[in-house]
């Protein structure tokens, strides 16, 4: 299959073309284009209500499109059967959101190990990988506590460990530091982007905070359901 190509002639990891998404009469996405290469960290910024979260959910195949295509690693996501798509999501994607993504009844280490367990990895091995990732994110000391018993900053690091543990190629993060103070937020970003760079994972990072966006390689701005690539724009002027 021939796909959208980057300037270097190799296919991008993910390419979205002319995405449309309506909620009733609201056009949340109105012809949005987006592309990300392997290992790239791209910040998605823009005013509230401009369509950032909708874009992220469409890219990840969580929301169905009303128009356009998303190609990931040679597959057209919307053309895949549901089971295939969720399998791909589990094996290749990691997710970090602002709140409430951990299962409250499980301990932190069980939460981190969950995606490996679902993929059929034995408990001992899954929890030992989980513990390694928790150590890397400096939260191995809370491994046996439940999410409700740890601080917001620790919870967010546990969530980051959970997103990374299965070795995703693409991480979707929507305001991952939104609930943290600036020091904790920066530390979380440093750990997330550091781990992503070490493992070669790409990151789509939705954020309002320019200090958080500064951890990216490139920025796009969403305005009225469309994506403007301001980085390219300034590169073109210099």
């Amino acid at each position: 299959m021939s796909g959208a190509n980057t300037a270097e002639g190799t296919e991008a990891l993910l390419t979205a073309t002319r995405l449309r998404k309506y909620f009733g009469s609201t056009a949340a996405l109105n012809g949005a284009d987006f592309t990300i290469d392997s290992g790239e960290v791209v910040a998605v910024m823009g005013p509230s209500g401009s369509g950032k979260s909708t874009l992220l959910h469409c890219l990840a195949g969580i929301l169905d499109l009303d128009g356009g295509t998303v190609r990931y690693d040679g597959h057209e996501l919307s053309a895949l059967p549901d089971t295939e798509r969720s399998r791909l999501r589990r094996s290749d994607f990691g997710f970090v959101f602002q709140f409430g993504q951990l299962v409250p009844e499980l301990t932190c280490v069980e939460n981190v190990a969950l995606s490996l367990r679902l993929a059929g990895v034995a408990r001992r091995r899954a929890e030992s990988s989980a513990t390694e990732w928790m150590a890397r994110l400096e939260v191995d000391d809370v491994r046996d506590k439940r999410p409700g018993q740890v601080s917001g900053g620790q919870r967010q690091r546990v969530a980051i460990a959970r997103a990374l543990v299965a070795g995703p190629r693409l991480i979707f993060a929507d305001e991952p530091t939104g609930a943290l103070d600036s020091l904790n937020g920066e530390r979380a970003m440093e750990l997330l982007t550091g781990a992503a760079r070490d493992t070669g994972a790409a990151v789509v990072l939705v954020t309002h905070d320019v200090r958080v966006a500064a951890y990216s390689d490139r920025e796009v701005v969403v305005r009225d359901g469309q994506v403007l690539d301001t980085t390219a724009r300034i590169a073109g002027t210099t």
Binding site: P47, E190, G194, V210, R211, A213, A214, Y215, S216, D217, E219, V221, L228, T230, T231, R233, I234, T237
Partner: protein, 174 residues
């Protein structure tokens, strides 16, 4: 920053030669801009003239770089005064950018585009500082963080101005 007062402060721990002062200054504060020797000697002669330092000894061979300087009581007072006085907050960039935005509006150019380009340039510098910060020591981190907070404030201003361009255009009569 006041180079003179900073050099003066470095003398509080004991007398030093000019070249020693320069080395110490560069090591602690010269991340982006190391001092020129000329700058050190002209500054030291001014401090000498004003009685804030005195010559504590001269190495054989003479020449200005051989002088060893010691801080005087007046010098110590000067350092104290500098450290206890707030700096004037400088909205230096806003005045230039404000002028550009208004001029763009008045001449029918793309003011929103100008703000977008400036924002991207600010963020590019923030990225560079963030990279430097994450690979540096604590001193690098503190220096970079200060610049980052300023750039962040500028970006907030750029975004706010972008959202008020319509009103600004009406008010300046464009």
């Amino acid at each position: 920053m006041s180079i003179g007062t900073t050099l003066l402060g470095l003398l509080e721990s004991g007398p030093r030669h000019g070249y020693d002062l320069k080395r110490l200054f560069d090591e602690r504060f010269g991340h982006d801009r190391p001092l020129h020797y000329g700058q050190v000697y002209s500054t030291m002669s001014r401090l000498l003239r004003n009685g804030l330092v005195e010559v504590d000894g001269v190495e054989s061979g003479s020449g200005p770089e051989r002088k060893r300087y010691a801080i005087t009581d007046a010098g110590v007072t000067d350092v104290s005064r500098w450290l206890s006085t707030a700096e004037k907050p400088e909205p230096y960039l806003q005045s230039t950018l404000y002028a550009k935005v208004v001029l763009a509006l008045l001449t029918g150019r793309d003011a929103a585009g100008l703000l977008d380009v400036q924002r991207a340039e600010h963020l590019r510098l923030m990225r560079e500082l963030t990279r430097r910060k994450t690979s540096g020591d604590l001193a690098d981190q503190l220096v970079c963080d200060h610049a980052l907070f300023h750039l962040e404030a500028d970006i907030r201003w750029l975004e706010l101005t972008a959202s008020r361009l319509g009103r600004l255009a009406r008010e300046v009569g464009a």
